[in-house]
Amino acid sequence: MKKIITALTAVVIFLVTTGYAQEAQPLEVFGYFQAKFAYSPKNSFERAQNSFNIQQMNILLRKELGHDFSAFVNVELTNSFSSERNWGALNLEEAWVKYQIIPELSIKGGLLIPTFNNLNAIKSKTPLLPYIVRPVVYESSMSVLIGTDYVPERAYIQLYGTKTLGDVDLNYAAYTGNSETSYITTGVAGSTVTGNDTTTFKMIGGRVGISTRGIKAGISGTYDRKNVQVPVIPAPYFVSPGNVPRVRIGGDLSFKVDAFSFEGEFILVRHTLNDFSKAALAGIVQMTTDPRTGKSPFHYGLDKKFGYVNLMYDINDQWYVYAGYDYLSDEFNTIFNDGLMKYSVGGGFRPIDQVVLKAQYIDVKGKNEDFIKLNYESYNVAVSILF
């Protein structure tokens, strides 16, 4: 016993002294912001309007801790944040510590943005993105309208790495985190301890991909539950499917040929309703179907689909142009159940590496015009700054 204690003490002393003996690495402080001007002609919801806005600002802190540990914090302020004026939001997006187990495998613990398809982990890194308005499921300004069911927003532990096999890099990631946001306690609900998961089931997910000679492709998936405890169909029907098992499947592909870059993704969100909920929903749809149109305001399921493609052309090292298309459908959303499309064209100019000037036109259209004719256009210019 004495020997073990002596050995342990020696190990601790060794770790502490070698830790201090290492050259202290400075705290890296950096970040970025994107300032935007948008003009929207009259649309389905609002009058014509234009506005300046600090779309988002992120302050990033990073420190090498020694012994293959590093820590990273990402604080995000959106929509010209001011707590005094009740504008925007302040979010702790990431706060994690990373440990490199071996060069091919690292682990992150803490709040992190999980790897899902190509865009999820970088959706808020505006200097990296050619566009101003992101593909719809990644665009925070559209989350109120579209919801946040399509991609995992946060996880708490992630194992990930890259293994090189000849010309091919094999990328892998596996993670776990809390259930979806609606299960997390908030002050609104009167909870004394906020931000805690009220369930025992957790989200699990991952991605496997390859990259070789300018081509990147991967498949991603998550498994968790959708909180449908409140009635999804209002009175007098009341159907509450409960905690519904949900699977997200994603695929991503990007490649570059000369000056052309292509990127695309798809996401399928599948829910497994129990037999009672299925039968109840089918009955309600049947009962509420308008005999003249053959349509009901309600639908059978909760499943969702999303896809986007973007083609970019680098005119030279500084100028680029692109065109993109997004498609989304949500079986349970009255506006989007037949589909929502977003067309986008734009371009940008990089006078120096830290500055990108961007311009983008978007046109969003809903296919289902029975209940509301969704049509939204906007002209955007922005400057993205890295500091």
Binding site: E28, F30, Y32, L60, R62, E64, S70, F72, N74, E94, W96, K98, P103, A121, I122, K125, P127, L128, T162, T164, D169, R213, G214, K256, D314, D317, D353, L386
Partner: protein
Amino acid sequence: MKYFCVILILMAAIVVTGNAQIAVIVNNSNPIAKITPGSLKDIYLLSTLKWSDGMNIAVLDNREKSIQKKFYDFIGARDIMSVKKQWLRFQLSGEGKAPETVDSDNEMLSKVASTPGAIGYLRLSEVKGNDVKVIAQIE
């Protein structure tokens, strides 16, 4: 005639710069003696972050376009824009530091000379002193 001479001098300058031999250098304390284009690619695309002795690699990039292009062609990177995007993604995702870009061969020489884990590239004709060593040459 004057204009003709100026044009000739400019063209000669471009040809000379374009044909300059490039040296890949490390700090003299680094045990490495030679490096392959593949290993350089792994270092400059940030797939390899440490030297074989466990020391962190401090990657330095040269701002001069003609040297830059020749170097990235040699290591087999697709284009400089793609490399820079990869660096930015790496940095903004918290994985590490993007390489520092230096403005001149002199600055490159002094940074590599004063940083034990550093690697950089510059014109071979500008390599001087005993604090750095050449581990690859690009014709």
